[in-house]
Protein backbone atom coordinates (compact mmCIF):
# COMPACT_ATOMS: atom_id res chain seq x y z
CA UNK A 1 0.00 0.00 0.00
CA UNK A 2 1.30 3.41 -0.97
CA UNK A 3 2.49 5.30 2.05
CA UNK A 4 -0.04 8.01 2.33
CA UNK A 5 -1.94 9.00 5.35
CA UNK A 6 -5.28 10.43 6.03
CA UNK A 7 -6.49 11.97 9.21
CA UNK A 8 -9.78 12.59 10.80
CA UNK A 9 -10.63 15.72 12.63
CA UNK A 10 -13.82 15.03 14.40
CA UNK A 11 -15.87 17.77 15.85
CA UNK A 12 -18.27 16.29 18.26
CA UNK A 13 -21.15 18.36 19.47
CA UNK A 14 -23.40 17.01 22.14
CA UNK A 15 -26.89 18.15 21.39
CA UNK A 16 -29.07 17.46 24.37
CA UNK A 17 -28.90 15.64 27.62
CA UNK A 18 -32.46 14.39 27.36
CA UNK A 19 -31.99 12.67 24.03
CA UNK A 20 -28.78 10.96 25.06
CA UNK A 21 -30.19 9.79 28.37
CA UNK A 22 -33.33 8.46 26.76
CA UNK A 23 -31.26 6.42 24.33
CA UNK A 24 -29.26 4.88 27.15
CA UNK A 25 -32.23 3.97 29.23
CA UNK A 26 -34.57 2.65 26.60
CA UNK A 27 -32.09 1.12 24.18
CA UNK A 28 -34.42 2.34 21.48
CA UNK A 29 -33.39 3.29 17.98
CA UNK A 30 -34.05 6.98 18.42
CA UNK A 31 -30.68 7.97 17.17
CA UNK A 32 -31.71 11.46 16.15
CA UNK A 33 -32.37 12.35 19.77
CA UNK A 34 -28.70 11.96 20.78
CA UNK A 35 -25.61 13.95 19.90
CA UNK A 36 -24.46 14.95 16.46
CA UNK A 37 -20.92 13.92 15.65
CA UNK A 38 -19.34 15.62 12.68
CA UNK A 39 -15.84 15.47 11.33
CA UNK A 40 -13.57 15.54 8.35
CA UNK A 41 -11.08 13.12 6.88
CA UNK A 42 -7.98 14.90 5.76
CA UNK A 43 -5.62 13.52 3.16
CA UNK A 44 -1.88 13.90 3.72
CA UNK A 45 0.64 13.45 0.96
CA UNK A 46 0.49 13.90 -2.79
CA UNK A 47 -2.92 13.21 -4.19
CA UNK A 48 -2.75 10.47 -6.83
CA UNK A 49 -3.92 11.41 -10.30
CA UNK A 50 -7.44 10.15 -11.01
CA UNK A 51 -7.25 6.76 -12.71
CA UNK A 52 -9.04 6.75 -16.06
CA UNK A 53 -11.53 3.94 -16.71
CA UNK A 54 -11.80 2.34 -20.13
CA UNK A 55 -15.46 1.75 -20.86
CA UNK A 56 -15.03 0.50 -24.44
CA UNK A 57 -16.48 -2.85 -23.43
CA UNK A 58 -19.97 -1.34 -23.44
CA UNK A 59 -20.94 1.45 -25.88
CA UNK A 60 -23.83 2.52 -23.62
CA UNK A 61 -21.37 3.23 -20.81
CA UNK A 62 -18.93 4.93 -23.13
CA UNK A 63 -21.58 7.31 -24.46
CA UNK A 64 -22.44 8.48 -20.97
CA UNK A 65 -18.90 9.64 -20.31
CA UNK A 66 -17.97 11.72 -23.32
CA UNK A 67 -15.07 13.29 -21.43
CA UNK A 68 -13.94 10.00 -19.97
CA UNK A 69 -14.60 8.46 -16.58
CA UNK A 70 -12.24 8.11 -13.63
CA UNK A 71 -12.06 5.60 -10.81
CA UNK A 72 -13.69 6.41 -7.47
CA UNK A 73 -11.18 4.33 -5.55
CA UNK A 74 -9.28 7.40 -4.35
CA UNK A 75 -11.03 10.74 -4.56
CA UNK A 76 -9.10 13.59 -2.96
CA UNK A 77 -11.31 16.65 -2.69
CA UNK A 78 -10.16 20.14 -3.63
CA UNK A 79 -9.88 21.07 0.05
CA UNK A 80 -7.37 18.28 0.76
CA UNK A 81 -9.90 15.89 2.21
CA UNK A 82 -10.73 12.31 1.27
CA UNK A 83 -14.09 11.27 -0.10
CA UNK A 84 -15.81 7.90 0.42
CA UNK A 85 -14.42 7.10 3.86
CA UNK A 86 -16.81 5.09 6.00
CA UNK A 87 -16.72 6.24 9.63
CA UNK A 88 -18.63 4.28 12.24
CA UNK A 89 -18.80 3.41 15.90
CA UNK A 90 -16.82 0.23 16.30
CA UNK A 91 -16.97 -0.18 20.06
CA UNK A 92 -18.97 1.35 22.90
CA UNK A 93 -22.48 0.22 22.13
CA UNK A 94 -22.31 -3.28 23.62
CA UNK A 95 -25.58 -4.57 24.95
CA UNK A 96 -27.69 -2.07 23.10
CA UNK A 97 -30.08 -3.09 20.38
CA UNK A 98 -31.28 -0.94 17.55
CA UNK A 99 -34.12 -1.66 15.24
CA UNK A 100 -33.36 -1.60 11.51
CA UNK A 101 -35.22 1.16 9.66
CA UNK A 102 -37.95 0.13 7.27
CA UNK A 103 -36.90 2.80 4.78
CA UNK A 104 -34.53 1.34 2.23
CA UNK A 105 -31.07 2.51 1.34
CA UNK A 106 -31.23 3.31 -2.37
CA UNK A 107 -28.33 1.95 -4.40
CA UNK A 108 -28.33 3.00 -8.03
CA UNK A 109 -26.43 1.87 -11.11
CA UNK A 110 -26.11 5.00 -13.16
CA UNK A 111 -23.56 5.93 -15.80
CA UNK A 112 -22.12 2.45 -15.33
CA UNK A 113 -20.99 3.29 -11.82
CA UNK A 114 -22.50 2.75 -8.40
CA UNK A 115 -24.17 5.55 -6.54
CA UNK A 116 -23.29 5.72 -3.69
CA UNK A 117 -19.83 4.24 -3.99
CA UNK A 118 -19.55 3.71 -0.23
CA UNK A 119 -22.54 3.56 2.09
CA UNK A 120 -23.75 2.35 5.44
CA UNK A 121 -26.77 0.18 6.06
CA UNK A 122 -28.16 -1.64 9.07
CA UNK A 123 -28.45 -5.41 9.08
CA UNK A 124 -31.93 -6.35 7.85
CA UNK A 125 -32.59 -2.88 6.49
CA UNK A 126 -33.92 -3.06 2.90
CA UNK A 127 -31.42 -2.28 0.16
CA UNK A 128 -33.24 -1.04 -2.90
CA UNK A 129 -31.15 -1.66 -5.99
CA UNK A 130 -31.97 0.32 -9.12
CA UNK A 131 -30.75 0.12 -12.67
CA UNK A 132 -30.96 3.59 -14.21
CA UNK A 133 -28.76 2.60 -17.14
CA UNK A 134 -29.85 1.60 -20.60
CA UNK A 135 -27.60 -1.43 -20.40
CA UNK A 136 -27.62 -4.58 -18.32
CA UNK A 137 -25.78 -5.06 -15.06
CA UNK A 138 -25.27 -7.87 -12.63
CA UNK A 139 -25.14 -6.93 -8.96
CA UNK A 140 -22.87 -9.31 -7.12
CA UNK A 141 -22.57 -8.75 -3.36
CA UNK A 142 -19.83 -10.68 -1.57
CA UNK A 143 -20.63 -10.68 2.14
CA UNK A 144 -19.09 -13.33 4.37
CA UNK A 145 -21.53 -13.04 7.25
CA UNK A 146 -24.72 -12.77 5.16
CA UNK A 147 -25.87 -14.67 2.09
CA UNK A 148 -24.01 -13.81 -1.08
CA UNK A 149 -26.17 -12.79 -4.03
CA UNK A 150 -25.73 -12.17 -7.74
CA UNK A 151 -28.69 -10.61 -9.52
CA UNK A 152 -29.21 -9.83 -13.17
CA UNK A 153 -30.68 -6.42 -13.93
CA UNK A 154 -31.12 -6.30 -17.70
CA UNK A 155 -33.89 -3.69 -17.91
CA UNK A 156 -33.58 0.06 -17.42
CA UNK A 157 -35.64 1.21 -14.45
CA UNK A 158 -35.63 -2.25 -12.85
CA UNK A 159 -35.73 -2.38 -9.03
CA UNK A 160 -34.82 -5.19 -6.67
CA UNK A 161 -34.71 -5.31 -2.90
CA UNK A 162 -32.21 -7.28 -0.85
CA UNK A 163 -31.03 -7.40 2.76
CA UNK A 164 -27.80 -8.16 4.55
CA UNK A 165 -28.73 -10.13 7.63
CA UNK A 166 -25.53 -9.78 9.68
CA UNK A 167 -23.16 -6.91 10.48
CA UNK A 168 -19.98 -6.79 8.42
CA UNK A 169 -17.50 -4.03 7.60
CA UNK A 170 -17.18 -3.89 4.60
CA UNK A 171 -19.17 -5.83 2.02
CA UNK A 172 -17.94 -5.51 -1.54
CA UNK A 173 -20.46 -5.22 -4.36
CA UNK A 174 -19.31 -5.61 -7.94
CA UNK A 175 -20.49 -6.00 -11.50
CA UNK A 176 -18.80 -8.66 -13.61
CA UNK A 177 -20.27 -7.22 -16.79
CA UNK A 178 -18.42 -3.95 -16.14
CA UNK A 179 -15.35 -4.91 -14.09
CA UNK A 180 -14.58 -1.32 -13.09
CA UNK A 181 -17.82 -1.09 -11.11
CA UNK A 182 -17.35 -1.65 -7.37
CA UNK A 183 -19.03 -0.37 -4.24
CA UNK A 184 -18.69 -1.05 -0.52
CA UNK A 185 -21.39 -1.34 2.12
CA UNK A 186 -20.75 -1.06 5.84
CA UNK A 187 -23.36 -3.31 7.44
CA UNK A 188 -23.90 -2.56 11.11
CA UNK A 189 -26.23 -3.47 13.92
CA UNK A 190 -26.60 0.19 14.91
CA UNK A 191 -27.25 3.42 13.04
CA UNK A 192 -24.11 5.34 14.05
CA UNK A 193 -22.14 5.74 10.87
CA UNK A 194 -21.38 8.26 8.16
CA UNK A 195 -19.51 8.55 4.87
CA UNK A 196 -17.30 11.46 3.91
CA UNK A 197 -18.68 13.62 1.12
CA UNK A 198 -17.03 15.86 -1.48
CA UNK A 199 -15.95 18.17 1.31
CA UNK A 200 -14.42 15.26 3.21
CA UNK A 201 -17.02 15.68 5.93
CA UNK A 202 -19.09 13.09 7.72
CA UNK A 203 -21.73 13.18 10.41
CA UNK A 204 -23.07 10.65 12.83
CA UNK A 205 -26.42 11.49 14.31
CA UNK A 206 -27.95 10.58 17.61
CA UNK A 207 -24.91 9.16 19.41
CA UNK A 208 -25.49 8.98 23.17
CA UNK A 209 -22.89 10.52 25.50
CA UNK A 210 -20.15 8.06 26.33
CA UNK A 211 -16.77 6.73 25.28
CA UNK A 212 -16.49 5.10 21.87
CA UNK A 213 -13.98 3.65 19.46
CA UNK A 214 -14.57 5.12 16.02
CA UNK A 215 -13.15 3.49 12.93
CA UNK A 216 -12.56 5.15 9.58
CA UNK A 217 -12.31 2.76 6.64
CA UNK A 218 -11.04 3.51 3.16
CA UNK A 219 -10.89 0.95 0.34
CA UNK A 220 -7.27 1.75 -0.57
CA UNK A 221 -5.74 3.20 2.57
CA UNK A 222 -7.23 0.77 5.07
CA UNK A 223 -8.62 1.48 8.52
CA UNK A 224 -7.77 3.68 11.48
CA UNK A 225 -9.37 3.82 14.87
CA UNK A 226 -9.58 6.44 17.58
CA UNK A 227 -11.15 6.55 21.00
CA UNK A 228 -13.40 9.51 21.60
CA UNK A 229 -15.54 10.77 24.42
CA UNK A 230 -18.84 12.23 23.48
CA UNK A 231 -19.78 14.76 26.11
CA UNK A 232 -23.24 15.93 26.83
CA UNK A 233 -22.25 19.51 26.09
CA UNK A 234 -19.25 21.22 24.54
CA UNK A 235 -17.09 20.04 21.69
CA UNK A 236 -14.34 17.50 21.13
CA UNK A 237 -11.89 17.11 18.31
CA UNK A 238 -9.52 14.29 17.46
CA UNK A 239 -6.91 13.44 14.85
CA UNK A 240 -5.32 10.18 13.83
CA UNK A 241 -2.95 9.03 11.15
CA UNK A 242 -2.16 5.81 9.40
CA UNK A 243 0.85 3.81 10.59
Amino acid sequence: MKKLSFSIIGLILALGLFGASALFFTNAAKAQEGSLVTGKVLFEGTAPAPLPIKMDADPVCLLQHAKGATSEEVVVNGNGTLKNVFVYVKEGLAGQKFEAPKEPVVFDQKGCSYNPHVFGIMANQPLEILNSDGTLHNVHALPKASKEFNLGMPIQGMKLTQKFTSPEVMVKIKCEVHPWMAAYAGVLDHPFYGVTNDQGAFEIKGLPAGEYVLEAWHEKYGSQTATVKVPETGEVSFTFKSA
Binding site: P59, L136, N138, E148, N150, G152, H178
Partner: protein, 290 residues
Protein backbone atom coordinates in the same frame (compact mmCIF):
# COMPACT_ATOMS: atom_id res chain seq x y z
CA UNK B 1 -13.58 -40.98 -48.91
CA UNK B 2 -15.10 -43.75 -46.88
CA UNK B 3 -17.07 -43.40 -43.68
CA UNK B 4 -14.06 -44.16 -41.45
CA UNK B 5 -12.08 -41.24 -42.82
CA UNK B 6 -15.01 -38.86 -42.45
CA UNK B 7 -15.59 -39.94 -38.89
CA UNK B 8 -11.87 -39.59 -38.11
CA UNK B 9 -11.89 -36.04 -39.50
CA UNK B 10 -15.04 -35.22 -37.57
CA UNK B 11 -13.36 -36.44 -34.38
CA UNK B 12 -10.29 -34.33 -35.17
CA UNK B 13 -12.67 -31.37 -35.51
CA UNK B 14 -14.08 -32.16 -32.08
CA UNK B 15 -10.54 -32.20 -30.65
CA UNK B 16 -9.87 -28.75 -32.10
CA UNK B 17 -13.24 -27.38 -30.96
CA UNK B 18 -12.54 -28.67 -27.44
CA UNK B 19 -9.16 -26.95 -27.37
CA UNK B 20 -10.83 -23.69 -28.42
CA UNK B 21 -13.44 -24.25 -25.71
CA UNK B 22 -10.69 -24.68 -23.12
CA UNK B 23 -9.11 -21.39 -24.20
CA UNK B 24 -12.43 -19.54 -24.06
CA UNK B 25 -13.17 -21.06 -20.65
CA UNK B 26 -9.76 -19.90 -19.46
CA UNK B 27 -10.59 -16.40 -20.62
CA UNK B 28 -13.71 -16.42 -18.45
CA UNK B 29 -11.63 -17.11 -15.35
CA UNK B 30 -8.84 -14.71 -16.32
CA UNK B 31 -11.26 -11.83 -16.90
CA UNK B 32 -13.30 -12.66 -13.79
CA UNK B 33 -16.40 -12.90 -15.98
CA UNK B 34 -17.75 -16.14 -14.57
CA UNK B 35 -20.72 -14.45 -12.95
CA UNK B 36 -21.34 -11.77 -15.58
CA UNK B 37 -24.39 -13.81 -16.57
CA UNK B 38 -26.17 -14.62 -13.31
CA UNK B 39 -28.67 -17.15 -14.66
CA UNK B 40 -28.31 -20.57 -16.27
CA UNK B 41 -29.11 -22.29 -18.61
CA UNK B 42 -30.50 -19.08 -20.17
CA UNK B 43 -28.50 -15.87 -20.22
CA UNK B 44 -30.44 -12.93 -18.76
CA UNK B 45 -33.57 -14.93 -19.61
CA UNK B 46 -32.67 -15.14 -23.30
CA UNK B 47 -30.66 -17.34 -25.63
CA UNK B 48 -28.48 -14.47 -26.75
CA UNK B 49 -27.99 -11.46 -24.48
CA UNK B 50 -26.28 -8.23 -25.60
CA UNK B 51 -22.60 -9.04 -25.95
CA UNK B 52 -21.12 -6.32 -23.75
CA UNK B 53 -18.45 -6.35 -21.05
CA UNK B 54 -17.91 -9.63 -19.25
CA UNK B 55 -20.94 -11.17 -20.95
CA UNK B 56 -18.84 -11.44 -24.13
CA UNK B 57 -16.56 -13.97 -22.43
CA UNK B 58 -19.12 -15.88 -20.39
CA UNK B 59 -21.74 -16.18 -23.12
CA UNK B 60 -19.17 -17.07 -25.79
CA UNK B 61 -17.99 -19.84 -23.48
CA UNK B 62 -21.56 -21.11 -23.19
CA UNK B 63 -22.10 -21.04 -26.97
CA UNK B 64 -18.83 -22.83 -27.74
CA UNK B 65 -19.54 -25.36 -24.96
CA UNK B 66 -23.00 -26.04 -26.37
CA UNK B 67 -21.45 -26.54 -29.82
CA UNK B 68 -18.92 -29.02 -28.45
CA UNK B 69 -21.72 -30.82 -26.65
CA UNK B 70 -23.70 -31.00 -29.89
CA UNK B 71 -20.69 -32.29 -31.85
CA UNK B 72 -20.12 -34.94 -29.19
CA UNK B 73 -23.75 -36.01 -29.43
CA UNK B 74 -23.47 -36.36 -33.21
CA UNK B 75 -20.24 -38.35 -32.85
CA UNK B 76 -21.84 -40.64 -30.27
CA UNK B 77 -24.79 -41.39 -32.53
CA UNK B 78 -22.52 -41.80 -35.54
CA UNK B 79 -20.11 -44.10 -33.72
CA UNK B 80 -22.98 -46.05 -32.20
CA UNK B 81 -24.36 -46.70 -35.67
CA UNK B 82 -21.13 -47.45 -37.55
CA UNK B 83 -18.39 -48.53 -35.15
CA UNK B 84 -17.74 -52.26 -34.81
CA UNK B 85 -15.57 -52.07 -31.70
CA UNK B 86 -17.64 -52.04 -28.51
CA UNK B 87 -14.78 -50.36 -26.59
CA UNK B 88 -14.85 -47.35 -28.94
CA UNK B 89 -18.62 -47.12 -28.76
CA UNK B 90 -18.38 -47.17 -24.98
CA UNK B 91 -15.71 -44.46 -25.07
CA UNK B 92 -17.96 -42.13 -27.07
CA UNK B 93 -20.67 -42.62 -24.46
CA UNK B 94 -18.15 -41.76 -21.75
CA UNK B 95 -17.30 -38.65 -23.79
CA UNK B 96 -20.95 -37.69 -24.01
CA UNK B 97 -21.40 -38.25 -20.28
CA UNK B 98 -18.33 -36.15 -19.54
CA UNK B 99 -19.48 -33.22 -21.66
CA UNK B 100 -22.95 -33.31 -20.10
CA UNK B 101 -21.43 -33.46 -16.61
CA UNK B 102 -19.11 -30.60 -17.50
CA UNK B 103 -22.05 -28.51 -18.71
CA UNK B 104 -23.96 -29.16 -15.50
CA UNK B 105 -20.91 -28.28 -13.40
CA UNK B 106 -20.53 -25.05 -15.39
CA UNK B 107 -24.15 -24.20 -14.63
CA UNK B 108 -23.68 -24.98 -10.95
CA UNK B 109 -20.69 -22.65 -10.75
CA UNK B 110 -23.03 -19.87 -11.90
CA UNK B 111 -25.99 -20.78 -9.70
CA UNK B 112 -23.88 -21.33 -6.57
CA UNK B 113 -21.58 -18.33 -7.19
CA UNK B 114 -18.32 -20.13 -7.98
CA UNK B 115 -17.93 -22.55 -5.08
CA UNK B 116 -14.31 -23.72 -5.07
CA UNK B 117 -14.94 -27.51 -5.24
CA UNK B 118 -17.29 -27.20 -8.22
CA UNK B 119 -15.08 -24.65 -9.99
CA UNK B 120 -12.01 -26.87 -9.52
CA UNK B 121 -13.92 -29.93 -10.73
CA UNK B 122 -15.07 -27.95 -13.77
CA UNK B 123 -11.46 -26.90 -14.45
CA UNK B 124 -10.25 -30.52 -14.23
CA UNK B 125 -12.97 -32.25 -16.21
CA UNK B 126 -12.36 -29.92 -19.17
CA UNK B 127 -8.83 -31.26 -19.81
CA UNK B 128 -10.02 -34.81 -19.08
CA UNK B 129 -12.71 -34.45 -21.71
CA UNK B 130 -10.05 -33.16 -24.10
CA UNK B 131 -8.03 -36.34 -23.44
CA UNK B 132 -11.08 -38.44 -24.21
CA UNK B 133 -11.51 -36.68 -27.56
CA UNK B 134 -7.79 -37.16 -28.33
CA UNK B 135 -8.13 -40.85 -27.48
CA UNK B 136 -11.18 -41.16 -29.72
CA UNK B 137 -9.33 -39.45 -32.56
CA UNK B 138 -6.47 -41.93 -32.26
CA UNK B 139 -8.74 -44.93 -32.00
CA UNK B 140 -10.84 -43.85 -34.96
CA UNK B 141 -7.83 -43.42 -37.25
CA UNK B 142 -8.56 -45.42 -40.40
CA UNK B 143 -5.85 -47.87 -39.41
CA UNK B 144 -6.78 -47.68 -35.74
CA UNK B 145 -8.88 -50.78 -35.59
CA UNK B 146 -5.94 -53.02 -36.29
CA UNK B 147 -3.32 -50.88 -34.58
CA UNK B 148 -5.06 -50.76 -31.19
CA UNK B 149 -6.36 -54.28 -31.31
CA UNK B 150 -4.60 -55.34 -28.11
CA UNK B 151 -5.07 -52.18 -26.02
CA UNK B 152 -7.32 -54.00 -23.60
CA UNK B 153 -5.10 -57.06 -23.54
CA UNK B 154 -3.63 -58.30 -20.29
CA UNK B 155 0.02 -58.31 -21.35
CA UNK B 156 2.81 -57.03 -19.14
CA UNK B 157 3.40 -53.33 -19.56
CA UNK B 158 6.54 -52.13 -21.31
CA UNK B 159 8.71 -49.51 -19.54
CA UNK B 160 7.49 -46.89 -22.02
CA UNK B 161 3.87 -47.72 -21.37
CA UNK B 162 4.42 -47.52 -17.62
CA UNK B 163 6.33 -44.26 -17.85
CA UNK B 164 3.92 -42.56 -20.23
CA UNK B 165 0.91 -43.52 -18.12
CA UNK B 166 2.68 -42.34 -14.97
CA UNK B 167 3.67 -39.04 -16.61
CA UNK B 168 0.11 -38.48 -17.81
CA UNK B 169 -1.07 -38.96 -14.24
CA UNK B 170 1.53 -36.48 -12.98
CA UNK B 171 0.45 -33.92 -15.56
CA UNK B 172 -3.16 -34.29 -14.49
CA UNK B 173 -2.13 -33.75 -10.88
CA UNK B 174 -0.35 -30.59 -11.97
CA UNK B 175 -3.53 -29.42 -13.74
CA UNK B 176 -5.47 -30.07 -10.54
CA UNK B 177 -2.99 -27.92 -8.60
CA UNK B 178 -3.26 -25.23 -11.25
CA UNK B 179 -7.04 -25.26 -10.88
CA UNK B 180 -6.62 -24.78 -7.12
CA UNK B 181 -4.33 -21.82 -7.82
CA UNK B 182 -6.85 -20.29 -10.21
CA UNK B 183 -9.86 -20.74 -7.96
CA UNK B 184 -8.44 -20.12 -4.51
CA UNK B 185 -5.36 -17.95 -5.10
CA UNK B 186 -3.83 -19.44 -1.95
CA UNK B 187 -0.01 -19.05 -1.86
CA UNK B 188 0.42 -22.64 -0.62
CA UNK B 189 -1.12 -23.93 -3.85
CA UNK B 190 0.89 -21.47 -5.95
CA UNK B 191 4.18 -22.73 -4.53
CA UNK B 192 3.17 -26.39 -4.66
CA UNK B 193 2.20 -25.90 -8.31
CA UNK B 194 5.56 -24.27 -9.03
CA UNK B 195 7.56 -26.99 -7.28
CA UNK B 196 5.64 -29.80 -8.92
CA UNK B 197 6.27 -28.17 -12.30
CA UNK B 198 9.90 -29.22 -11.94
CA UNK B 199 8.82 -32.80 -11.22
CA UNK B 200 6.63 -32.82 -14.34
CA UNK B 201 9.43 -31.25 -16.34
CA UNK B 202 11.78 -34.05 -15.28
CA UNK B 203 9.19 -36.77 -15.87
CA UNK B 204 8.42 -35.53 -19.37
CA UNK B 205 12.13 -35.24 -20.14
CA UNK B 206 12.75 -38.85 -19.20
CA UNK B 207 9.62 -39.97 -21.09
CA UNK B 208 10.86 -38.25 -24.25
CA UNK B 209 14.29 -39.85 -23.83
CA UNK B 210 12.67 -43.25 -23.30
CA UNK B 211 10.44 -42.86 -26.34
CA UNK B 212 13.39 -41.91 -28.53
CA UNK B 213 15.64 -44.73 -27.33
CA UNK B 214 13.05 -47.46 -27.10
CA UNK B 215 11.53 -46.84 -30.51
CA UNK B 216 14.19 -45.12 -32.61
CA UNK B 217 12.46 -46.19 -35.81
CA UNK B 218 8.90 -45.60 -34.72
CA UNK B 219 7.90 -42.10 -35.79
CA UNK B 220 4.37 -42.37 -34.42
CA UNK B 221 5.74 -42.36 -30.89
CA UNK B 222 8.79 -40.24 -31.56
CA UNK B 223 6.96 -37.24 -33.01
CA UNK B 224 4.32 -36.79 -30.32
CA UNK B 225 6.98 -37.38 -27.65
CA UNK B 226 9.15 -34.62 -29.12
CA UNK B 227 6.08 -32.39 -29.46
CA UNK B 228 5.29 -33.08 -25.80
CA UNK B 229 8.81 -32.03 -24.81
CA UNK B 230 8.48 -28.81 -26.81
CA UNK B 231 5.10 -28.02 -25.24
CA UNK B 232 6.43 -28.52 -21.73
CA UNK B 233 9.32 -26.12 -22.35
CA UNK B 234 6.87 -23.56 -23.74
CA UNK B 235 4.53 -24.15 -20.80
CA UNK B 236 7.37 -23.49 -18.40
CA UNK B 237 7.85 -19.98 -19.80
CA UNK B 238 4.12 -19.32 -19.94
CA UNK B 239 3.96 -20.35 -16.30
CA UNK B 240 6.66 -17.84 -15.41
CA UNK B 241 4.67 -15.17 -17.27
CA UNK B 242 1.43 -16.13 -15.55
CA UNK B 243 3.17 -16.00 -12.16
CA UNK B 244 4.68 -12.58 -12.83
CA UNK B 245 1.49 -11.02 -14.13
CA UNK B 246 -0.98 -12.50 -11.65
CA UNK B 247 0.92 -13.25 -8.44
CA UNK B 248 3.67 -10.64 -8.44
CA UNK B 249 1.31 -8.25 -10.26
CA UNK B 250 3.91 -6.97 -12.66
CA UNK B 251 1.14 -5.05 -14.37
CA UNK B 252 -2.06 -3.70 -12.76
CA UNK B 253 -4.19 -4.80 -15.67
CA UNK B 254 -4.04 -5.46 -19.35
CA UNK B 255 -3.72 -8.14 -21.90
CA UNK B 256 -0.72 -9.93 -20.35
CA UNK B 257 -2.60 -10.50 -17.13
CA UNK B 258 -5.36 -12.22 -19.08
CA UNK B 259 -3.43 -13.98 -21.83
CA UNK B 260 -0.58 -15.57 -19.89
CA UNK B 261 -2.69 -17.55 -17.42
CA UNK B 262 -5.22 -18.42 -20.12
CA UNK B 263 -2.58 -19.75 -22.51
CA UNK B 264 -0.82 -21.50 -19.62
CA UNK B 265 -4.06 -23.24 -18.70
CA UNK B 266 -4.91 -24.18 -22.30
CA UNK B 267 -1.44 -25.46 -23.01
CA UNK B 268 -1.66 -27.53 -19.83
CA UNK B 269 -4.64 -29.34 -21.33
CA UNK B 270 -2.83 -29.76 -24.64
CA UNK B 271 0.13 -31.28 -22.77
CA UNK B 272 -2.19 -33.70 -21.01
CA UNK B 273 -3.77 -34.61 -24.34
CA UNK B 274 -0.36 -35.11 -25.99
CA UNK B 275 0.84 -37.25 -23.11
CA UNK B 276 -2.33 -39.31 -23.44
CA UNK B 277 -1.58 -39.70 -27.14
CA UNK B 278 1.98 -40.87 -26.39
CA UNK B 279 0.58 -43.35 -23.88
CA UNK B 280 -1.94 -44.73 -26.35
CA UNK B 281 0.60 -44.84 -29.14
CA UNK B 282 2.99 -46.78 -26.92
CA UNK B 283 0.24 -49.38 -26.72
CA UNK B 284 -0.28 -49.21 -30.43
CA UNK B 285 3.36 -50.03 -31.02
CA UNK B 286 3.04 -53.13 -28.88
CA UNK B 287 0.02 -54.23 -30.87
CA UNK B 288 1.71 -54.07 -34.25
CA UNK B 289 4.62 -56.38 -34.89
CA UNK B 290 7.85 -54.58 -35.77
Amino acid sequence: MNELVWRYRFTQGLVLATLILLFVGGLVTSTDSGLAVPDWPLSYGTLFPPMVGGIRFEHTHRVVAASVGFLTLILTIWTGAKERRASVRRLTFVCLGAVVLQGILGGLTVLFLLPVPISVAHACIGPLFFCLTVSLALLTMPEGEEAFSDVAGGKDLTPLQKRSAFTTGLIFLQIFLGALVRHTGLPAFVWTHILSAFVVFFAVGTLVAKALTEFPDERRVERPALFLGFLVVLEFFLGIGAFLFTQVELAESGLSRVLFPTLHQTLGALILGTSTAVTLLSWRRSGVPA
